[in-house]
């Protein structure tokens, strides 16, 4: 059931919030082999559903009234443990609520639980979680091998793909909403930087982080974004623009829309099926009245290395706060305060997080700052300028979302660079602060979902969603994974 269908069923009183929530709570319990949730919140969910049913009876119905959602464990939820999938925050219970989740509850939504993720959102496979890997509900044809659900929002993507919730929240710093959505056959939207408040979201790289919806349909993404987005005084980078009714903006079709195909996204060694799907996507849009134009984003190949300077630099600074003093893990048996800092952080952070803290510390250290960090910030300007020039010729860009389908658990953990390449098509969007969406577009030869990405102009999520809906309509992706996980 889609979010829009559930919303309509609730409003028509065909189902109560309690019934709907109870069904998801039970589905989540049965799906524990997927490990999609770090914290299940069944009791709280049912209490929220009851409160929602009371509001429905009283006739005060919010935009998401009674609709059960899964929340990535990076969003602080008051009174419910929030871990960022790290041992260092393993017992952290926030005394405050993130703005995005508060907006959802204010709209009447119900929280089912907190989803698994890569530790501090650093990863593309959910394998860096201190709470264990998540398994993709999808398996390749004639195979029982467990595949990754993408990352870092891998618990959210698995939960949406396995129908354990109506929709989920994710965050995207380099592709962490779009890549997991793509490899699980779902929709993932990263809004423009500044559209959703970052207040109360555990920070990774503050100039790149952005929250967004992970949903079953493009319409659902529009509905979710309307409630998640806001202008927030608690986040100085929240942009002062009214939030439009994105669902209304879905109407009107794409006749005359100019769709740019960036030639630099055709990379050596990419599987032929990715290229074929990409061409098909262009044909689908053309058939609905769009005009296809070739554009150039000359600095594309520098985006990933730029990201791997900027993001760790910001992370090393953001993660300095985890020192074992006021909250979080503190190592036992230490003699002095320096040893307490070093051991708490050494024992509390996992391998990938430590690697990135060290990279970040190095590129910001005296003597290396200009060669690395300052240069990367200039590259970032060039990458953004590439997009500005391309958008003089087109309204949206069409690209693949990932270089391939979901891969096996353990397949890419030995070489960090190979893992980083997962984000080759998505990371540019974060560096330029633009909105991007992944839409399920077809199956690989091995029977696994593949996504297409659309990139829009800043704060033009309306056009982006309309184009995404055109892809969705043409692709008519109706496949779903076999329910092997249900115990």
């Amino acid at each position: 059931m889609s979010l829009a269908e559930a919303r309509d069923a609730i409003r028509a009183k065909k189902v109560s919030a309690r019934e709907l929530t109870g069904a998801f709570v039970s589905a989540i319990e049965k799906a524990r082999p997927l490990n999609a949730f770090i914290t299940e919140a069944g009791e709280k969910a049912l209490a929220m559903a009851d409160a929602s049913d009371k509001r429905i009876a009283a006739g005060t119905i919010g935009a998401l009234e009674g609709l059960p959602l899964a929340i990535k464990d990076l969003f602080c939820t008051k009174g419910t443990r929030t871990t960022a999938a790290s041992k260092i925050l393993g017992n952290f219970v926030p005394p405050y609520e993130s703005t995005v989740t508060q907006n959802l509850w204010d709209a009447g939504a119900v929280m089912l639980g907190k989803t698994n993720m890569d530790e501090f959102a650093m990863g593309s496979s959910n394998e860096t979680s201190a709470f264990g890997s998540v398994f993709n509900p999808w398996r390749a044809k004639n195979s029982n091998a467990n595949l990754v659900p993408g990352g870092s929002s891998g618990g959210s993507s698995a939960a949406v793909a396995a129908d354990l919730c109506l929709a989920a929240t994710g965050t995207d710093t380099g592709g962490s909403i779009r890549q997991p959505a793509a490899v699980t056959g779902r929709v993932g939207l990263k809004p423009t930087y500044g559209r959703c408040s970052r207040f109360g979201i555990v920070a990774f790289a503050s100039s790149l982080d952005q929250a967004g919806p992970m949903t079953k349909t493009v319409r659902d993404a529009a509905i979710m974004l309307k409630s998640m987005a806001s202008v927030d005084a608690k986040d100085s980078t929240s942009v002062d623009l009214p939030v439009p009714d994105y669902e209304k903006l879905l109407e009107g079709g794409i006749r005359g829309l100019r769709v740019g195909i960036p030639k630099e996204y055709r990379i050596d060694g990419a599987p032929a099926e990715i290229d074929a799907l990409w061409s098909k996507g262009g044909d689908w849009l053309k058939a609905q009245g769009a005009e296809i134009v070739e554009v150039s984003l000359p600095h594309t190949k520098y985006a990933l290395p730029t990201y791997y300077i900027v993001a760790p630099a910001e992370a090393s600074s953001n993660l300095a706060r985890y020192d074992g003093v006021k909250f979080g893990y503190r190592a036992p048996g230490v003699r002095d305060i320096t040893e307490m800092y070093e051991k708490s952080r050494g024992e509390g952070f996992g391998a990938e997080v430590q690697r990135r803290i060290l990279i970040g510390t190095y590129v910001l250290s005296a003597g290396y700052y200009d060669a690395y960090y300052a240069r990367a910030q200039k590259l970032r300007s060039l990458i953004k300028r590439d997009f500005e020039r391309a958008f003089e010729l087109c309204d949206v860009l069409l690209t693949p979302t990932t270089p391939g389908p979901a891969f096996a658990v353990g397949a890419k953990t030995s070489d960090p660079l190979e893992m980083y390449l997962q984000d080759v098509f998505t990371v540019t969007v974060n560096l330029a602060g633009l909105p991007g969406i992944s839409v399920p577009a077809g199956l690989s030869e091995t029977g696994l979902p593949l996504g297409l990405q659309l990139i829009g102009k800043a704060f033009d999520e309306g056009t982006l969603l309309r184009a995404a809906q055109a892809i969705e309509t043409a692709a008519a992706f109706k496949h779903s994974p076999a329910k092997w996980w249900s115990v």
Partner: protein
């Protein structure tokens, strides 16, 4: 530019991160792999290019310098690894 064991030890100290002696060498190798890949940024002419300071063209917001929240000492203590009343307890800092 290559990162050796001593460099890893130095930056780990700067980052207040206890990296076991046995991990220094492998970490140096991993970081080298990443930094060698990043070297490609050296190909790009960046003279005269402004460093990005904000990805969205918006002036940083100002607010009135006034107290908007506070008196939350109890809430601040609930996650403390070790605390007494409204104080965070840490190992001795000065002898």
């Amino acid at each position: 530019m290559s990162v050796d064991k001593d460099t890893v030890r130095r930056i780990a100290k700067l980052a207040r991160l206890a990296v076991p002696e046995s991990r220094l060498e492998p970490m140096a190798a991993e970081l080298n792999g990443i930094f060698q890949w990043v070297e490609m940024l050296g190909e790009v002419k960046v003279e005269g290019v402004p460093a990005m300071t904000s990805v969205v063209a918006q002036k940083l917001k100002w607010r009135k310098d006034e107290v908007r929240d506070g008196g939350q000492a109890d809430a601040l203590m609930i996650n403390a690894p070790e605390g007494e009343e409204h104080f965070f307890v840490v190992p001795k800092v000065h002898e």
